[in-house]
């Protein structure tokens, strides 16, 4: 991805994130992830129904990388089944770890394809998906589909 486009995607999503702030949290599963080595702190709220993610929001304070990645992730997971969301996460992690991955499937998430060059930022870029994984696990444990 071209550097300018990459930057534009990240800045747009950091400055005007999608689904930040949720007034009525009823029916949402909440998970938190904070970065122990820095100060990123994200609460993710996900609503599951019939095995699908039907809605998601986030709250919290984080750097531009974490905030934008959370915003893009939320946009992409709404409407997906849990399995689809997990495979999106796997592809994303493959990209972050510089393994082969499905570029087309990741769409705007390709903006983080060069994050491996800044190892200290990997945690920032993966924080939203770590949190998503937690909500999916909670939904399994609590048998919420």
């Amino acid at each position: 991805m071209d550097t300018n486009l990459r930057r534009e995607i990240i800045v747009d999503n950091a400055e005007n994130p999608f689904h930040r702030g949720l007034a009525n949290k009823d029916g949402y599963i909440k998970a938190n992830t904070h970065n122990e080595s820095c100060i990123d702190n994200i609460d993710l709220y996900v609503k599951f129904q019939d095995g699908k993610i039907i809605d998601a929001y986030f709250e919290g304070e984080a750097c531009a990388i974490t905030t934008s990645a959370t915003s893009i992730m939320i946009r992409k997971i709404i409407g997906k089944t849990k399995e689809e969301a997990i495979s999106l996460m796997r592809e994303y992690y493959n990209m972050i770890e510089e393994n082969s991955y499905d570029e087309a499937y990741l769409g705007e998430l390709n903006a983080y394809s060069n994050i491996a060059k800044q190892p200290s930022r990997k945690k920032c870029a993966t924080l939203p998906f770590q949190t998503l994984e937690k909500t999916i696990k909670i939904s399994e444990i609590e048998n919420i589909n």
Partner: protein, 397 residues
């Protein structure tokens, strides 16, 4: 003050994170190296020349610390690993036995984790009650303190200067209030002892904790000061070599007197000797001069920052060399990464003061903390970079 005294300043760095740690002058580094290359020996252990020399230098440092904070006796000076260890010794070696269930402790939400968590643990352990003095304009106000003190209040534990807001607390007056209530005052001096003149007698401080590395000295070394009557009642947290005078198989045990009773095991001798050199360095400049210099830098920075629209400063009205700010709508960590690109080092985050958000109304900030070697020219460079902050994302992304 000569910037050539600091090898770290030969690098192209602008170091504004002195609240976290400070650079070391060559005299401190040399003192540590000399211990390891010219007179390595343990202290208080041997009768040979090297050991005697180390003993002399080690105890000479204790005397220097005593004079530096104006304590009554060198027996009131205990070497520790730093402020955190000192505060933990006060809480778990003294307060645990001095306090009773239901006794109240006053702190604030602006205290460093090391002056919060030990108290909260003791609360769980023995049932003391930790209460927060509300801040007024981010400061500790005497009237408010008066209103918080009840007949159950036994201790007030405060930083002399806070590490985020940077306000200087009226410790002398607060000490008077708590003493009138038959309580004690504990002072976290981590951010004050390196920057302003400390006088434990004049302020009537019962316990004081501070670290060497924030005052030009080595890491891993700190000081616990306590009035002799209280310190003598402190139970050691560590038992072993160096702190006992005899023990028998019959289990008769006798411990040493102060200060050695509270310094079990081989101490950080190199660190203590380095602290000695750092005190010499600070004394050669003068603590009042250091404080004046930092205030001048702070006022200079605040004046210059007025020319940049999108910067919010949170602590304009405090009298120390600490400035906390944010670029509007930019996360503090992104700002510090941006400044890092220009080799300007500031701290981003909550600065180990996770409750201050309740008072400041904001969780994360960038903190600039000055020291004696910082200059107006460095501030000019910072301002130039901050003025161009519209380029921030181009630099960090």
């Amino acid at each position: 003050m000569n910037r050539d005294d600091f090898l770290m300043l030969n690098n192209d760095y602008i170091y504004f994170d002195n609240g976290a740690t400070t650079f070391k002058p060559n005299s401190v580094v040399n003192k540590v190296v000399d211990y390891y290359t010219k007179y390595t020996a343990n202290s208080h252990r041997g009768d040979y020349d090297l050991s005697q020399k180390v003993d002399y230098l080690y105890e000479e440092t204790r005397d220097k610390v005593k004079d530096f904070i104006n304590a009554s006796s060198s027996k009131e000076i205990i070497f520790t690993s730093g402020t955190t260890m000192s505060l933990n010794m006060i809480v778990f070696g003294f307060m645990k036995y001095y306090l009773q269930k239901g006794d109240e402790i006053l702190i604030t939400k602006a205290e460093h984790a090391s002056n919060v968590l030990p108290w909260l643990e003791l609360e769980k352990e023995i049932g003391i009650v930790v209460k927060y003095i509300p801040l007024k304009d981010l400061k500790v106000d005497l009237e408010t303190v008066k209103n918080c003190i009840t007949e159950k209040t036994k201790v007030i534990s405060l930083a002399y200067i806070t590490n985020v807001i940077g306000d200087i607390r009226p410790i002398k007056e607060i000490a008077k209030l708590i003493h009138e209530n038959n309580g004690l005052i504990v002072v976290d001096g981590a951010q004050s002892v390196p920057h302003i003149k400390t006088n434990v007698i004049e302020d009537d401080i019962d316990f004081l904790a501070f670290s060497a590395h924030k005052m030009l000295g080595p890491t891993g070394t700190g000081v616990l000061y306590g009035k002799y009557i209280y310190l003598d009642k402190m139970k050691p947290i560590f038992y072993g070599g160096g702190m006992n005078s005899r023990f028998e198989s019959t289990k008769e045990i006798e411990y040493k007197t102060l200060p050695l009773r509270l310094e079990a095991g081989t101490q950080n001798i190199a660190g203590v000797l380095g602290l000695s050199a750092s005190i010499d360095y600070l004394n050669s400049i003068g603590m009042n001069k250091i404080h004046e210099h930092e205030l001048e830098l702070k006022n200079y920075l605040l004046e210059k920052l007025k020319s940049i629209d999108n910067i919010t400063v949170y602590n304009k009205n405090t009298d120390s060399g600490i400035v906390v700010f944010n670029i509007d709508n930019i996360f503090s960590e992104d700002t510090s990464r941006y400044l890092n690109h220009y080799h300007i080092f500031v701290r981003a985050g909550n600065h180990c003061t996770k409750m201050v958000k309740d008072e400041l109304g904001i969780k994360n900030t960038c903190r600039i903390s000055f020291y004696l070697y910082n200059t107006k020219e460095e501030i000019d460079k910072l301002i130039e970079v901050l003025k161009n902050n519209k380029d921030l994302y181009e630099i960090i992304l």
